[in-house]
Amino acid sequence: MHMLEVVDIYKSYGSCEVLKGLSFTVDKDETKVIIGTSGTGKSTLLKCINQLDPPDKGEVWLEGEDITNPSIDLNRIRQKIGFVFQDFNLFNHLTALQNVSIGLEKVKKIEKENAREKALEELRRVGLEKQSCQYPAQLSGGQKQRVGIARALAMDPAIILFDEPTSALDPELIGDVLDVMKNLAGKVAMLIVTHEMGFARNVADEIIFMEGGTIIESGPPEQMFNNPKKERTRQFLGRISTLYGKE
């Protein structure tokens, strides 16, 4: 049984078809990275997976459960799908610690003391225990995103979805966030949309190249970077490499 299985999903907005029949799986503790040009439906795909914006057609299975089934309790399911946003979306009125613990307190109904303890542990994991009492407005972008990751981790999710987690960050802050994600690799299933090719190459178990709402090609990083099967993949990765420099 796969941790996550996406089966032939379609999604349109009006007459604009964004996702055109995508299928893939993510296994336990596996790291998959989705790459592709902007506007190819990568973010839409993530929203279709956690049912924030359910697909029009197709199925999403999480730990053997069809979560596209309309009768399912999505609030229960979403606890198991961590989500890290491009623009952080921390709760502005809560401290870093409270941001991480609120899900435990309100959703998992864990006692306040224990929730805070666990939250502090997660903040430590992302190197921010010193900032636990600061509000989002007092944190740098990189720190905010690490709190965002801690918030997702605290819920002990089956999988974490990352929607371009470093795109809104200054170049010098990106490293801290990527380091945290690197440390998570192999410990929790991750599906990451990113433009960080170096990260994709070093950390991903598999890279999925998406364009025009479909998967053009997927495979291990070595194959994708050195020996892609499709001409389009070669073009894309070639251009990215000249843009960002080869690792």
Binding site: L52, N75, I81, N89, N92, H93, A137, Q138, S140, Q143
Partner: protein, 228 residues
């Protein structure tokens, strides 16, 4: 000035009207604001209708309808109760609009982030949206409190013995209109200053950096340790 004690007899009524109307108005206003923003179409439109009616007609006419009009169909209120009812219903409409503005000022992604954690819509509203929206609405709410305190004086028209009613009585008996009403104005002024000072302190006390204030003001008024 010998009449001062008599004048002050009206103060408790004025304060009672203000506090009850602001509280009841807040409770009802919050429901109206939530109904308007999050309710299904029918609920949302009902809330809008309420707001339009109570904001679109004079408070005095509303009080007249309640106090003089409703007895025609067998519903009779004492002057004080009629005043409380009218002021509360009216204030609710205004407070609902302030609250709606604050709720809608919270970025939609805050709700989405809450839902992503597995919170229900209601939980997200209660624990994520409202704590931020209420803080933002404090300045407007402070205005409403002061307006309300002053507008309670309108209840003299339905025979409620508030501060202004007492003043009218005393002035008529003594013919010292200027003196009496200047003193009354001063009393209202003292209370409005006191109230806005209290609300101001509450606002500072519950203030959270990054919620409801521009960063410039935050920097100037509060020493925030940036990027420690």
């Amino acid at each position: 000035m010998r009449s001062l004690p008599e004048l002050l007899e009206g103060v408790p009524i004025t304060l009672l009207l203000t506090f009850c109307a602001i509280s009841a108005g807040f409770a009802l206003g919050l429901l109206l604001a939530l109904g308007r923003v999050y309710g299904k179409k029918g609920i949302s439109y009902s809330c809008i209708a309420y707001l339009e009616i109570f904001r679109g007609t004079p408070l005095l006419v509303q009080l007249f309808i309640i106090y003089y009009g409703l007895p025609n169909i067998g519903i009779i209120f004492s002057p004080l109760l009629a005043a409380l009812l009218g002021l509360s219903l009216n204030s609710a409409a205004y407070q609902a609009e302030y609250l709606r503005g604050s709720i809608q000022a919270i970025p939609a992604n805050q709700m989405i982030a809450g839902r992503t954690l597995g919170m229900t819509r209601f939980q997200s509203i209660r624990t994520i949206i409202l704590p931020q929206a209420l803080r933002i609405s404090i300045p407007a709410w402070s205005n409403e409190l002061i307006y309300l305190l002053k507008y309670t004086s309108i209840v003299v028209y339905i025979q409620v013995r508030d501060l202004t009613f007492q003043a009218k009585d005393i002035a008529a008996q003594s013919s010292r209109y200027l003196e009496t009403f200047l003193v009354v104005a001063l009393i209202y002024l003292l209370f409005t200053i006191l109230f806005s000072e209290i609300v101001d302190r509450v606002e500072k006390r519950v203030r959270i950096p990054g919620v409801g204030l521009s960063p410039r003001i935050v920097k100037r008024n509060m020493k925030i340790p940036f990027k420690t």
